[in-house]
């Protein structure tokens, strides 16, 4: 390469950085600064008051390990029975089941919406309604629907003869977390369906025509042609939802009794910082949550890539 092109490249790189600078600065301010502060506070014994007056002490890793840390591995009842252990288990259970269900339902919805039928545009708009309702509103709405005494859900199931007594969907620990998963699936399936539908509409038609001419069974076409082609888009949709699900807070906080049976990691962080005034300890939990989400993302991208190379 001649020096002229490399100069041009350098020039281009420089202007790219200049144009990127404001974005990077804003990102550093709105994302980097709070994150840095949280990590910093996780090494202190700060309370809400102490932040304002700057009267806190550095305590090293005390908020992370040992008797007063989030990873109290010597807890009498065992780590997985501590509140933080429960929060991790609840969050992963919730994330796994809701994302898997949403993805499967999303694919089915997308395939239906991709077909040509009368009133398709109306249906497409209609399925978006649950996604358009703010989570806090839909959570409260479902809390009423699932109320044990006057909820419409019990009334319907009872009149259909499926249950013989009212079930306390959001209060009974056997049902509470699953009720939350159900509402999350209701709310987020349209989002998944839409992302997958977008991918379906980009598919080239020629291989379908070829498959049709060759007389290949539609199910085989779906798994051999459609799935590999929409795989990257599907993976992106799943990771979006997974990251969202891992930091779940509002839906659980509004719908359930908020005992340790259903508390999520974000709920735990809120409880420690706001209710119990342990900003340091809560920040440590928050940092761990951040690391867990980061690790999940990396792991997921690795796994997804391995699958894609097949």
């Amino acid at each position: 390469m001649s020096t002229k092109t490399s100069e041009l490249t350098r020039e281009r790189t420089r202007s790219a950085w200049i144009f990127l600078a404001p974005t990077l600065l804003v990102l550093a301010l709105v994302a980097g600064w709070p994150l840095g502060r949280t990590i910093f506070f996780s090494f202190t014994d700060a309370s809400l008051e102490a932040i304002g007056d700057s009267t806190y002490n550095m305590v090293g890793f005390q908020n992370y390990f040992g008797e007063y840390g989030v990873f109290n591995l010597n807890a009498v009842e065992g780590f997985w029975s501590t509140d933080w252990g429960m929060a991790i288990r609840n969050t992963f259970k919730f994330s796994f089941f809701s994302v898997v269900t949403e993805t499967l339902l999303g694919v089915i919805f997308a395939l239906v919406l991709n077909a040509n039928f009368k009133g398709r545009s109306f249906i497409r708009a209609a399925v978006l309604v649950p996604w358009a309702i703010p989570t806090i509103v839909s959570a409260k709405m479902w809390a009423w629907i699932m109320n044990d005494q006057f909820g419409v859900m019990n009334a319907l199931l009872r009149s259909a003869g499926i249950i013989d007594h009212n079930i306390a969907w959001t209060a009974d620990p056997h049902f509470a977390l699953w009720s939350v998963v159900l509402v999350d699936v209701w709310k987020t399936t349209p989002f998944m369906a839409l992302l997958i539908l977008a991918a379906l509409q980009m598919l080239p038609t020629d291989c379908y025509e070829a498959a049709h001419v060759d007389g290949i069974h539609p199910v085989r076409v779906f798994f051999k042609v459609t799935v590999p082609l929409i795989w990257p888009a599907l993976m992106v949709a799943v990771i979006f939802r997974l990251l969202d699900a891992l930091r779940v807070f509002d839906i659980i906080y509004v719908m359930t009794s908020n005992s340790v049976d259903t508390i999520s990691m974000s709920g735990f962080v809120r409880r420690e910082i706001v209710d119990n005034n342990y900003v340091g300890y809560g920040s440590a939990a928050s940092t761990v949550l951040f690391l867990i989400i980061g690790a999940c993302t990396v792991l997921y991208l690795k796994l997804a890539k391995v699958d894609m190379s097949k």
Binding site: Q149, A168, T170, A171, D172, R271, N276, N277
Partner: protein, 426 residues
Amino acid sequence: MTVMTKTAAAVLISFGALGAVGAQAAGVTVTISCGSVGQDFEFCKKAGDEWSAKTGNTVKHLSIPQSSSDILGLFRQMFAAKATELDVLSVDVVWPGLLKEHLLDLTSYAKGAEKEHFPAIVANNTVGGKLLAMPWFTDAGVLYYRKDLLAKYNEKAPTTWAELTATATKVMDGERKAGMADMQGFVFQAKAYEGLTCDGVEWVSSFGGGNIVDSTGKITINNPQAAKALDTAASWIGTIAPTGVLNYGEEEARGVFQKGNAVFMRNWPYAWSLSQGADSPVKGKVGVVALPKGDGGKTAATLGGWQLAVSKYSAHPKESADLVMYLTSAAVQKDRAIRGSYNPTIAALYKDKEVLSANPFFGDLYETFVGAVPRPATVTGAKYNEVSAAFWNATHEVLSKKATGAESVKKLEGKLNGIRRGPKWN
């Protein structure tokens, strides 16, 4: 009206600049957060408007959550930011110790008016010699029952938990057979929040199981009577109480009872006037007695109640304190007692004929209200909320049948030791 007030205020302020205003600088806007349970808001709005009309100031209302745990979280965040948006705030009886850094000393504004109120509550609100809040209304848990249903089944109001269980079962089964499929025996507050701590303290105390942490700071919850109390409460869930109580606060329980679908309800006195309202299906059918006793114990009611305080960060401390003194005065407390069945904190009002005729049980239960059991807030100080959360979670675990009472109180003891972090609470 508002325009006129504003104009008047503008005129007065300009006079103020010339030094022509007296003690009451008119035209100031004071923001207050009252409660949101039951009729709290309407009463607070009315009394606030009266004060506005009297002083020419404006009262702005800040809406707050229903659950006291959520309200505390909100206030803590506002205080941490030294927010000036809030001037007057309602303070739960267990909070003065928690919020002491942020509340104004009202001693010089009260001018001795606090001496009319119950001394125990004034003492509760006085931290380090400073009067941080004025008593607004007091509270104690009481048992509501359906007079008509008990009469129909020839039963009388229970005095022990065993009697309550038996009566509730009998009436509930009978009513369900008669076609009232939704009839429940007993509703109370069992959601995992501060209200469950109140209910739990009553159960444990009525069985002679102490009060979680004793007055010297010793953790006493791990004892057989406490375990028995929690096991007894757990036996109600799914039998006389709907499983849904595990997610009920005060208003959810009242919803079921006031609709006519429960025989008994544990709640605060505020539910009385609402149950007697013109639109209430149970109007005239409700009785109120002291909560039942456990085996080998005596009746116990948890002390509740709210105070009014002024934020240290308020821009108008003088006007705010004046509003607090007005709202906690005998006249306003009397009005609230008659129309809202809020228990006054002024002893003299319990002998007032109008108050007693509106709330017949105030006189009978006077001892319950005065001798109510406080939650262990003073001894645990800044860590009270965490202690309470550990207790309500342990109780919730027993009620939802995930642990027995004995297992749960043992685990709770370990947890409370961890929260205390050493030999002393503070």
